[in-house]
Amino acid sequence: MNVVSRGFVGRRRDRDPRIPPGQYPERDFPVLSAGPTANVPLDRWRLDLTGADGTSRSLSWADLMALPSERITTDIHCVTKWTKLDTTWRGVPVRTVLGDVGDARYALVHSSGGYTTNLPLADLVERDAWVAFEYDGRPLHPEHGGPARLLVPHLYFWKSAKWLSGIELRHQDTPGFWERLGYHDYGDPWREQRYAGDG
């Protein structure tokens, strides 16, 4: 049972079923990053794709733009407790970017600046996940991970790596930046998997 805080009433709005437990709705778009915002010019942007067998290839911005993209409307959930409903994006599905993934089971995602995060590969190719480059009809702002970030709306947003620079396929799971610093390995907002050890 929770401990009651005497005199706390709260805002009492109708509970929106799209908001996971422990989250509150935010109209603004807060920025969370471990360090300074990275600025990656489009002509230097590269996405390195490494297979579990070590083979690699690299996409340029023009290569990414040549792939079929989708318009996305989705809710996003940050582990710092805010949820933003009905955000709109444009991006290329990760499965389109990756193509044949062989028998790899995990992905370690890399960002400019050294940030990493890990996911089961199935969450990138069998569920909705994109390499997103537009937000709200405009090029994605650097603060929010532009020119391109990962967008994996069904997991807490630290998995949606900003300033995406590489996706490395692996046979084994390897914790990324926040995962090594105490955050949950998987990060399902509906199960409140915030920190290591959460159910």
Binding site: V3, V4, S5, G7, V9, G10, E26, P30, V31, A38
Partner: protein
């Protein structure tokens, strides 16, 4: 789950429980910011710069969770938070205006393995805080004093107006009595008559270049997002390496 070469799963941290916390003492730091000293039986301690999740529960079971930095130097069983009221907020008006000694809430943590400082680290430290972003930086200053560390500490603290300076007396006293601690205050909207710098947002000249200390400092920047963006840009222009700059952002992007 990751698997080691030997095929064994590495040890996993256990679940982090919610702990019952009782307000022991509280005081206003400014008209809109209040320090809450909590007794938290079972709290093992933390590193300076870390934060906790706070859970408030209403009588009918309605809950709200928010994150607050720990303001005090690490101490088992006890912690201080400093909360600044956000006008139309849900949790901060309760914490600043309503909660009384003896009232309870829940905390879990410590959280944050990145924005933290350990008194055993030898590098100089540059702290850059905006508004309530001074809170985790104050924990680092208090920990430096508590642990008797001698590393150079430099706090650049920007607030809108002089009446919004949190920890004003303690910072003044510490800056006079602690060798190696320098405190610079800046006002972004309106200053004091005897301050030469005209009010304005943090600029490049308000920050020390990377060469100000013998070795590049660890830099911690905390505040509203616009403040952090602006400060980190200037810091990089002044030669500070992005890899030496850790940021924590409170509140909305505007």
């Amino acid at each position: 789950m990751s698997v080691t070469a030997a095929g064994e799963a590495p040890p996993r941290p256990g679940p982090m429980p919610w702990l019952r916390a009782r307000l022991d003492d509280a005081w206003l730091e400014t008209r809109v910011a209040r320090t809450l000293v909590l007794d938290v039986p079972g709290w093992a301690g933390n590193d300076a710069g870390q934060h906790v999740d706070v859970r408030l529960t209403a009588e009918d079971g309605y809950t709200a969770q928010r994150t607050y930095s720990i303001a005090s130097a690490p101490e088992p069983g006890r912690m201080a938070l400093t909360v600044q009221r956000v006008g139309d907020g849900e949790a901060s008006p309760y914490l600043v205006e309503e909660m009384r000694p003896g009232d309870e809430l829940e905390v879990r943590g410590p959280i944050g393995g990145w924005f933290r400082w350990d008194a055993a680290w030898p590098e100089p430290v540059l702290l850059v805080g905006g508004g309530s972003g001074v809170v985790p930086l104050m924990a680092m200053i208090r920990e430096r004093v508590r642990a008797g560390s001698r590393v150079p500490f430099h706090l650049v603290y920007s607030v809108r107006t002089p009446d919004l300076v949190i920890y004003t007396n303690e910072l003044f006293a510490l800056s006079r009595t602690t060798p190696g601690l320098r405190v610079d205050r800046l006002y972004s909207r309106a200053g004091l008559p005897d301050v030469a710098r005209p009010p304005g947002r943090l600029g490049r000249d308000d920050l020390p270049p990377v060469t100000a200390t013998a070795v590049p400092p660890r830099v911690y920047v905390c505040g509203p997002n616009g403040f952090v963006e602006n400060a980190t840009r200037h810091l990089q222009d002044l030669g500070h390496d992005a890899a030496d700059i850790r940021t924590e952002r409170f509140g909305p992007s505007s």
